[in-house]
Symmetry: C2
Subunit: 458 residues, 2 copies
């Protein structure tokens, strides 16, 4: 008996309409990546396990999909490992490859392996799927695309400025006005921990601070106390809890607060440069705001930290983020390569555009002209017309068989075709074709000798 087919848990099929919408986003992102001088690379879907393992923490190691070795893979397992029946020990013996978990580690491997061909600073973008063995739930998938742009080999803050402009350019063209580009700097967080005398508790402090929006000042002070952060420190940090006003006003507060910390002051001056340069260049539709509670990927970032929030009124987590890191390639033995990068959250951007009805209407118009098929002779005349239309780049088709008119018109309707062409016996005799405009319902007759008259009207 034939099996009932199913799709793997946590994965998705994409219908034509979904692929078109996803490509609409990718194409706009790519276009701007290119005008900003970024170049595409692609890396393989799977890597040798040692390239990936140990790079994402224990949880990451667990979530990496491992590929079983081919052939009689059990033969290579020694008796001791086999008898232990321990999955972790066994995995190392029966699996040598694993599916990519993100695009960052493969990029680092790429840079190290190709360092002699690359012209630094290297501006690369990469849009490829990644895989994670997470428990699937709403909005979380086991296969999803990441969309990253990074510059490595330059420590210039102009790169940070450029990424703010790039976010603005992409979201403006997507019609997503008013996104909030939040900006912070790891050095500011470190400086704060330093001046309040809690350098060792940097992570506890920022994790608590990060919850300011959710649990308020009382909530975070309580959490800080629980983590052993002193009353004196909490008091010293208090100006942060009610930081408000313009970016320049906030910078003034931070500058004062961090005046005794060298690192913190450096963070303030970096932040100031980015804010001032962007103010001088202007943004199209995005806002740029300082957010000292922003601490994403703290262990990883060393300078600027970015996060993009959807426009006000849209319930959605961040739709993009990134930051500067100082030692991407160190894990593979190439030192002192500073980098900064951002990513776009495709799936969330898709949901936001859908919610705000921002996809172009024509996106589901995969066919502009459908010729009705009235039989072999008429069909051949229609096929000649279709061939000419296609050569002019018009998406067109002939219904493949002389099915009932109703069935062919239903197909045209379902496929959202705006123009239906009729070449019946009479038209064939007169060497004409009739075009039915499906939107307004009228009909017009053209000569088969000069179809360009119709094409020009399209």
């Amino acid at each position: 008996m034939a099996q009932k087919p199913s799709i793997a848990k946590g994965t998705r099929d994409f219908s034509p309409s979904e692929v078109n919408k996803r490509n609409y986003i990718f194409d706009i992102v790519k276009k701007h990546f290119k005008t900003y001088g970024f170049q595409p690379i692609e890396t393989p879907s799977f890597e040798n396990s040692e390239t990936l393992m140990g790079k994402y923490g224990d949880e990451g190691d667990r979530l990496i999909f491992k590929i079983l070795n081919s052939g009689d893979y059990l033969r290579k397992v020694d008796d001791k490992t086999y008898e232990s029946k321990d999955a972790t020990a066994m995995t190392a013996k029966i699996s040598e490859k694993a599916l990519r978990y993100d695009l960052t580690v493969p990029f680092a491997r790429y840079v190290v392996m190709h360092q002699n061909e690359i012209d630094f600073p290297f501006k690369r973008y990469q849009i490829q799927p990644v895989w994670r063995a997470d428990r699937p739930q709403k909005g979380r998938f086991r296969e999803f695309f990441q969309c990253d742009a990074d510059v490595v080999g330059s420590d210039s803050l102009l790169q940070e400025v450029e990424f703010v402009q790039l976010y603005d350019a992409v979201f403006t063209e997507l019609g997503l006005q008013g996104v909030n580009i939040k900006l912070n700097n790891r050095k500011i967080l470190a400086g704060i921990a330093e001046v309040i005398g809690e350098r060792d508790k940097l992570i506890d402090f920022t994790v608590a601070l990060d919850k300011l929006d959710k649990i308020g000042i009382d909530g975070i002070t309580k959490e800080m106390r629980e983590k052993g952060i002193s009353e004196k420190a909490i008091e010293a940090a208090a100006p942060l809890f009610s930081l408000s006003g313009s970016n320049l006003e906030q910078l003034a507060v931070l500058k004062d607060l961090l005046k005794d910390s060298e690192e913190g002051s450096k963070g303030v001056s970096e932040l100031t440069f980015i804010i001032e340069t962007i103010a001088s260049l202007g943004l199209q539709t995005a806002k740029l705001t300082i957010d000292v509670t922003l601490a994403r990927g703290l262990n990883y970032y060393t300078g600027a930290i970015f996060e993009v929030g959807a426009p006000e009124g849209v319930q959605m987590g961040s739709i993009g983020g990134g930051g500067r890191y100082d030692d991407l390639t160190g894990i593979f033995g190439m030192k002192n390569v500073s980098g900064v990068g951002i990513s776009f959250g495709l799936d969330r951007i898709y949901l936001v555009l859908e919610e705000l009805n921002l996809f172009p209407e024509a996106i589901d118009q995969s066919l502009e002209v459908l010729c009705v098929n009235f039989g072999e002779k008429e069909g051949l005349a229609a096929l000649k017309l279709v061939s000419r239309l296609r050569k002019m780049g018009v998406k067109s088709d002939l219904y493949p068989s002389a099915a009932k008119m109703q069935k062919q018109m239903k197909y045209a309707n379902n496929r959202n075709v705006p123009y239906v062409v009729l070449i019946g016996e009479e038209e064939l005799e007169n060497n004409t074709f009739v075009v039915k405009n499906m939107l307004i319902g009228d009909q017009k007759t053209y000569s088969l000798n000069s179809p360009e008259e119709f094409i020009n009207e399209l």
Copy 2:
């Protein structure tokens, strides 16, 4: 100590230049898929194992990459299986998912699972990677892209006609003139086996016939004898061994040879319809030729069989192929869905275009304008210019730091930049910028107030 990174066996990194060249091919193929009314779908990289296993024969099962279950996967293995230490039995217990082996089986699954949303005939294209655990060798990879277009739900021969036109359109636009679209029909092969009285030896017969080009008439008659095909049969089939002349002349020979076979005659009439319709429509640059030795995927195809050969003088196997199949979705319980499809062999097309120098020159020009960075103040003026250029869609960049002129010019050279912009102290005072044309070496000065003068000249 840092590890030396490596790439998994049989996989490839693609550099910016390679990605651009691959996308050049994909974009042209996609453009024509769309004008022919095909719609894109995408399916997940991995499928449940039962969807893939048993669909490609024993060899295929062996070459499918299996993904290890997550967590403590050994716990679910019963003692008996574990003690047997048999890899095949074990695989079934510790792996539930596998990487896609081709795009055809996932497409069949898609059609069956989405049959109620699909408007038939369904014309879909799909361009995604597939994975095979083959031994890597020159030109054979463990990860490679397939590029397929299929129509399901129509048995009209117009689809075959359309695929011939589609091949012609794509290869013409790629500049690959004179490709040879070879055409055969499974029914003709079956008819031949019938009229020579060797119906049971259809596969042996066609496998031998397929070698005609390589081993000649003597070689194939010897092989046929060895396979137990009778002298009488070989004699009866002899007209095939020296089939020549125009398509119409060959059709006449076949028609006569197969006149007593119903199936064979049907094959001849199908072939005749395709050949005559194409003759009436005309092809741009491709040739369409009958090739009765063409037998690819014999177990699978039921009607037309296509294969595209590179233009004469290029040493390369087929660069495309396909055919009609009558029961794609039967394996998943959906009967009577006739389909026909073709594919493009991306990697080989890439090699042919490279060999014939057919990629556009501008493909490696990832940056049109580079501004030299002379310092903070000059840099800001340059950044403003770059921002304007980017808004106009010009791929442009500012060198991120005020490095030595020589270093910046070397970078411009390496990245193939045609225009280098200079804004030094003097230019900044005069509110101008200098454009150096890197190809002809001359310089021209423009006003920073009206950069559109330069843009219009681009």
